[in-house]
């Protein structure tokens, strides 16, 4: 791990920054939209990778934090009239607190039990928000379009959302990288490999686990805040959509679980493939089938994902791609 020659982090951050600037410089809004989604998915996949890839906990209902962040930020903007950026930052706090509170009991569960518990939490949150009038209940909340004038118009607001998402994605990757290279990261991986052995060698698993869970909750919360700010509407069904959660797991596995680069590659590949299937007239009818088939082939034959496979195939890469 210490033998890295080309520093991965500056390289990937520079790459993403250049990529992010591209649609702005070339004035290409559709590419900007595409990248907005990719950065959002990179954030979701990289966050889930911290708890799932490093620590070994399959957080199936992880999208709950995306929804919570979205709802808290929307509440601050819509009901309290706050600006987007402070709303985003403040909304991450209750999301983190909730992660700590639920993480404390449920991280004692292992394997399938933990996965099922996270599904239950996400579904419970969805129904609670569906019934809670403070947050608009089933109708949800929506902006009056004039809200965007304080950001210089709707177009400028969606650019602001784009920059924000870029920053959130880069922050997620940076944190993910730093964790992997830290002692904290080593503790997480020891927990993943064998919790009982980890305890014997002196790691008290509950603290690092909860810390990892909270960290992995904060970034989706910010992504949710940004997504729904740009969307202009938030509804329970879209905020706590279990399918989006499963999709993020798929991206992690597609790219390479437990690696820093894997979720980035997986998210980009997944989004590109989905976009291709959905706009291709011959395949649109079979897109779900083909997506399923591709996933199955990956899971069965390339279980370490694209990045993992490359690292196995070309060991020299291991020094470059964490």
């Amino acid at each position: 791990m210490k033998r890295m020659r080309v520093p991965f982090l500056p390289a990937i951050v520079a790459l993403l920054a250049v990529l992010a600037a591209f649609p702005i410089l070339t004035n290409n809004p559709s590419m900007r939209e595409e990248l907005f989604l990719v950065f959002m998915l990179v954030t979701l996949a990289s966050s889930i990778n911290i708890i799932m890839g490093y620590t070994g906990y399959v957080s199936f209902g992880h999208i709950v934090f995306f929804g919570l962040g979205g709802y808290f930020a929307f509440y601050l903007m819509q009901i309290q009239g706050w600006h987007f950026i402070p709303s985003l930052i403040v909304a991450a706090i209750p999301s983190a607190v909730i992660a700590a509170l639920i993480g404390f009991p449920i991280l004692r569960l292992r394997g399938a039990y933990f996965a099922l518990a996270t599904v239950g939490i996400n579904e419970a949150m969805r129904v609670v928000f569906n019934n809670w009038d403070l947050f608009g209940g089933a109708v949800g909340m929506f902006f009056n379009f004039s809200v965007y004038t304080q950001y210089g118009g709707a177009k400028a607001a969606s650019e602001l959302a784009y920059y924000t998402m870029t920053v959130v994605a880069i922050a997620t990757i940076t944190v993910s990288y730093l964790i992997k290279r830290s002692k904290f990261g080593l503790a997480l991986m020891a927990i993943r490999e064998d919790q009982d052995v980890a305890m014997i060698v002196g790691i008290r698993p509950s603290r690092p686990k909860i810390a990892a869970y909270v960290i992995s909750a904060v970034f989706p919360a910010m992504a949710g805040a940004t997504f729904f700010f740009k969307n202009g509407i938030i509804e329970p069904g879209h905020a706590f959509e279990l399918l989006r959660s499963i999709e993020s797991l798929v991206m992690v596995v597609l790219g390479g679980i437990g690696t820093v680069a894997g979720p980035i590659v997986g998210a980009a590949a997944y989004e590109w493939l989905r976009g291709f299937l959905i706009t291709n007239p011959a395949l649109a009818n079979f897109q779900l089938f083909l997506a399923g088939l591709l996933l199955l082939v990956t899971v069965l034959f390339v279980s370490s994902g694209l990045v993992g496979w490359l690292r196995e195939r070309f060991p020299v890469l291991r020094g470059y791609v964490p």
């Binding site: 799932m52 070994g56 399959v58 199936f60 009991p105 449920i106 004692r108 569960l109 394997g111 399938a112 039990y113 996965a115 099922l116 518990a117 599904v119 239950g120 939490i121 579904e123 419970a124 129904v127 609670v128 569906n130 019934n131 499963i246 797991l249 798929v250 596995v253 679980i257 009818n285 079979f286 897109q287 779900l288 089938f289 083909l290 997506a291 399923g292 088939l293 996933l295 199955l296 899971v299 069965l300 279980s303």
Partner: protein
């Protein structure tokens, strides 16, 4: 809310609970034998509905209750094939792998079913009359569904505890390596167990099709409900699943008399999470 509704709601909930329980038994059997949470469970339930629907509306106009038998057989075959295609290679991998393998089957089934059947709602129009006593009305279709559920559940018991094959399946569930040393072909038993689990899901779907309208996406709701039930009864415990189904059905019936119906799922999920935390072995299981 009025207490008048309490008795009829309790009875309705109880009866439906048997069908929920049957679906959950399939899920829990698979988990118990091979530690796999089957994410293709929901779409398979929907397939069971469409087996009955297709036979019923087809040229032969097959009676829906014969359709249930067809669902049983098709489910078994489908499950065995699914096991060898999607699971056999990764059966010893961590749970994430098997979750995603079965989820990929989920995507494929939904993809094909929505292009073939579209998402228009369908219904199997079957009526067996009803019996009314006071304000309690028991529907023929629901009563038959309970009977079928009981018969199938009893059949599963007979199979697991009274036959050699059942003994082998239980041996594989307990300790695969030891079972293999005893000369049991564990792959065949795993495939068979997956087939039986899938078959149970299809039969419950077939039964549901005689009760409620549906479309290819309808399985998802029942799948999430099955998760709740399975945890309530203890993961891997078929008796627990049947009991869990009855408890959930009863709960849905009774609580709606006291709290707004839209809050009932919150209660269910809270119970679900609490059981996981406090008694992960389920209501019937030993204390954790």
């Amino acid at each position: 809310m009025s207490l008048e509704a309490l008795i009829p709601s309790a009875i309705d909930g109880l009866m439906l609970g048997f069908v929920y329980g049957l679906a959950a038994m399939g899920l829990t059997l698979i988990f118990g034998v091979m530690r796999v949470i089957n994410l293709s469970h929901g779409p398979v339930i929907a397939l069971g509905m469409f087996v009955v629907y297709t036979l019923f509306t087809g040229p032969l106009g097959v009676n829906p209750y014969l359709g249930i038998v067809a669902a049983l057989v098709i489910g078994l075959a489908f499950g065995v094939v699914e096991y060898f295609v999607a699971l056999d290679r990764v059966i010893n991998a961590p749970e994430l792998t098997t979750l995603l393998a079965t989820f990929s089957v989920n995507l494929m089934i939904i993809g094909i079913a929505t292009s073939v059947f579209t998402t228009t709602p369908r219904a199997v129009d079957v009526s067996l009359g009803s019996v009314g006593i006071g304000n309690v009305t028991v529907l023929g279709t629901h009563a038959v569904a309970v009977l079928v559920a009981i018969v199938v559940a009893a059949g599963l018991y007979g199979l697991l505890f009274r036959t050699r094959v059942g003994k082998s399946i239980r041996a594989v569930a307990n300790n695969r390596a030891a079972a293999e040393l005893m000369g049991i072909d564990s792959r065949r038993m795993l495939a068979l167990a997956f087939g039986i689990g899938t078959s149970l899901a299809m039969v419950s779907g077939a039964l549901l099709s005689t009760l409620f309208p549906f479309n290819p996406l309808s399985g998802t709701g029942y799948e999430v409900k099955s998760f709740v039930i399975v945890v309530l009864g203890g993961l891997g415990n078929p008796t627990g699943a049947l009991l869990g189904g009855i408890v959930i059905g009863l709960l849905e019936g009774v609580t709606t008399v006291f709290i707004p119906v839209s809050w009932v799922p919150v209660l269910e999920y809270v119970i679900f999470i609490l059981i996981l935390l406090v008694r992960p072995a389920g209501l019937l299981g030993a204390r954790a």
